[in-house]
């Protein structure tokens, strides 16, 4: 049962993930895979591997006929794209962990896979150790996928957990995350939602066949969430998570975003604490499934890369069934959302943007409202992302249709109250 070909790897990058993978491969000779060369940027650095493993010349890897798999775990998305495209054009299978590079170049990468017929695997690029891409490819195959909701960023989830469970304020929680290695020294990629939306672009593709740039998907991070918001959530029986969601609407189109959201305490996502990730998939046949695990870290990421290498032994590649064998789903912004918005000053709020406002709480320290707003209005404006304003989707979130008479009635009522 061991008829698989030998995997001979050219690896770009030897940072925490690359070194993790190197270790894993050394401990698993049965995989029949070895790293022949690793291309690095700074040759002077001390590394835990023999010197002859390394080169700074990318062509040594990309034009070596013996190397049949290029593994790319570097930080520079422009260089990564160049490496990946050259590798595919040179007839090599590719394993990549660069979510930013993939999200930015999704269309080109799909085209190249089509042209070359070669595998491009990227399990490590979304939720690391959780095998979500392969499961979306294989298990919801032609299933009726109702929705996918996920916590895809460990840094922000760690910070929210500390705010929620230990009542740390945002800054203290962020510093703790940095001390423990769960957040970068420049944390804005994580904290402001860029990392999460890049992963979401990739998962939307495998889940629904959607090919879209990240700037077309509404997102924000947790940078404006206040400790006071966590208290309100607790009083109301909710937790707060940075939730990436995609949901099939009644009209067949897909609503998708990455936003902070209240989640019920018995929701699977409330179970995802600290630096962990979690994915809830609801579908017609398999019903509700929940995957939970580490979304980052050298070994968790290394193990995801290794699983891709393992799959390459039997020439596995993504089929992108939702994209090529079905009519791919379309994104829509034509729906409503119920949101909680807290603020320091009333003038930050554009009340007229709302269909109606259901709750208005004014306090000396901080105030908040709960109201229903058209999703496109959030897309078109930025006031809700400004300093001091914190938007959190309510647990019921998406409202597909509203009764406009009802809206007017509620607005009128409101006029009497406010």
């Amino acid at each position: 049962m061991n008829e698989h070909k030998e995997i001979i790897i050219g690896m770009f990058g030897f940072g925490v993930v690359g070194e993790g993978l190197y270790k894993i491969l050394q401990q698993t000779p049965s995989l029949n895979a070895r790293i022949k060369k690793s291309c690095i940027k700074h040759p002077g650095k001390k590394r835990n591997a023999p010197e002859e493993l390394f080169t700074t010349d990318k062509d040594v890897l990309l034009f070596d006929d013996e190397i049949n798999v290029i593994v790319e775990v570097i930080d520079d998305s422009v260089a990564a794209f160049d490496i990946v495209t050259t590798a595919l054009k040179n007839g090599k299978a590719v394993v990549s962990a660069s979510k930013k590079m993939i999200a930015e170049n999704l269309e080109e990468l799909l085209q190249l896979q089509k042209e070359t017929g070669l595998p491009f695997l990227c399990e490590a690029a979304a939720c690391a150790s959780i095998p979500v891409i392969r499961n979306l490819e294989e298990y919801y195959d032609n299933d009726l996928l109702h929705s996918i909701r996920a916590v895809v960023n460990g840094s922000t989830n760690f910070i929210l957990t500390k705010m929620f469970d230990d009542k740390l304020d945002f800054q203290d929680a962020l510093i703790l995350a940095q001390q423990l290695g769960y957040a970068e020294s420049n944390p804005s990629l994580d904290v402001e939602g860029y990392d999460a939306v890049n992963k979401w672009v990739i998962l939307l593709n495998h889940a629904y066949g959607i090919v879209e740039k990240s700037d077309k998907i509404l997102f924000t991070g947790i940078q404006n969430i206040q400790l006071r918001d966590a208290s309100v959530a607790k009083e109301k029986g909710f937790d707060i998570k940075l939730v990436a969601q995609a949901k099939t609407l009644l009209n067949g189109k897909v609503a998708a975003y990455v936003l902070p959201q209240f989640v019920k305490l018995d929701d699977q996502l409330a179970f995802v604490k600290n630096e962990f990730n979690g994915v809830v998939i609801e579908s017609g046949f398999a019903d509700r499934q929940f995957f939970y695990g580490k979304g980052a870290g050298s070994l968790a990421t290394g193990s995801a890369v290794m699983s891709d290498i393992s799959a390459l032994r039997y020439d596995y590649k993504y089929e992108y069934k939702k994209l090529y064998h079905h009519k791919p789903k379309e994104l829509t912004n034509d729906f409503y959302v119920r949101v909680y918005i807290s603020f320091n000053e009333v003038k930050s709020i554009r009340k007229d943007d709302f269909e109606w406002i259901e709750e208005w709480h004014a306090g000396l320290e901080r105030s908040y409202l709960i109201g229903v707003i058209h999703f496109q209005k959030l897309q078109n404006t930025n006031w809700w992302k400004e300093d001091g304003v914190s938007l959190i989707l309510t647990a019921d979130g998406i409202i597909e249709e509203i009764d406009s008479r009802n809206a007017k009635k509620r607005s009128l009522e409101l006029a009497g109250i406010l």
Copy 2:
């Protein structure tokens, strides 16, 4: 990207799972798979499919050269084994959902796969919609697997949930489970743990390369659990689950069993309520992962069978790496467990079997003790399974080594108390 061969299926059985699969395949033409014939037992029954689909002659399927995949979803484990072996010998790939048949004939099935080189896939046989077998095969590949703990039986989990959350007693909870279709009219296979241990035999094989009969694995069900046990659990801050566990001990051997166990309320398994299943995998590289979903039902099972069919398009088969490429792990009974045992009459309890007893609670209604016992003693005796005696593993469960002086001291102390 659609170069896959056509899958032409001969299906044995057209019960809830078979019909579920038939529906799923009709709705998914992109799979390029069709059921050519279905072999049934009772031709008279009304079925939601054209009459010409059916035959009662198994050879019509097994000797049809066009049929390249046999799907077997019948209830009779003897007939199923006959079908599966004939199919493999006739050069056909097999997809099976019969956990009992697989557990009973594991060695022969492995041998046949080796001889024929053909795929035998059975994702539906353990935890249905949760892709646990494929993930154990692919993702913990050569990982250091520390432990796997799971709720693998939906019926018993539903009953325990109702006892725990709604304070129903065992009989009432069982009747409710039967009314809702979560338990069979003859529930003993589920309730007494037979179904769970069969699944565990299969998962031990894919997780650790262990090939063992179910009667070599200590198991019991929930038939003796009392409402009073649930109250004790609650007082102490625990839930009760029927837990299937396998754990790598320090000596490299594996401890495995299926037993009721107290689980902490923040344990992933406590999250698994009602008819759902859940699997927690702890490993060196990927850390802790948790999979959750429906473990039974026609569509959940059908979707697992479909995922196997889908995998057959690129000739996927299990490699049984832990068995063939590594030294497979050995089971051991040489360890201790801390157990809670409740009872009506003191004479039911063999106190001398314990290393020591830590707690002794005598009550008018019911009494219980907590003590440490060698695992082999549980294997060798049956008193703890008798009517009126209920054994529940404590949350810390396995104790690899005890200090015998300490044990004696504790016993002496106890002698003074009791």
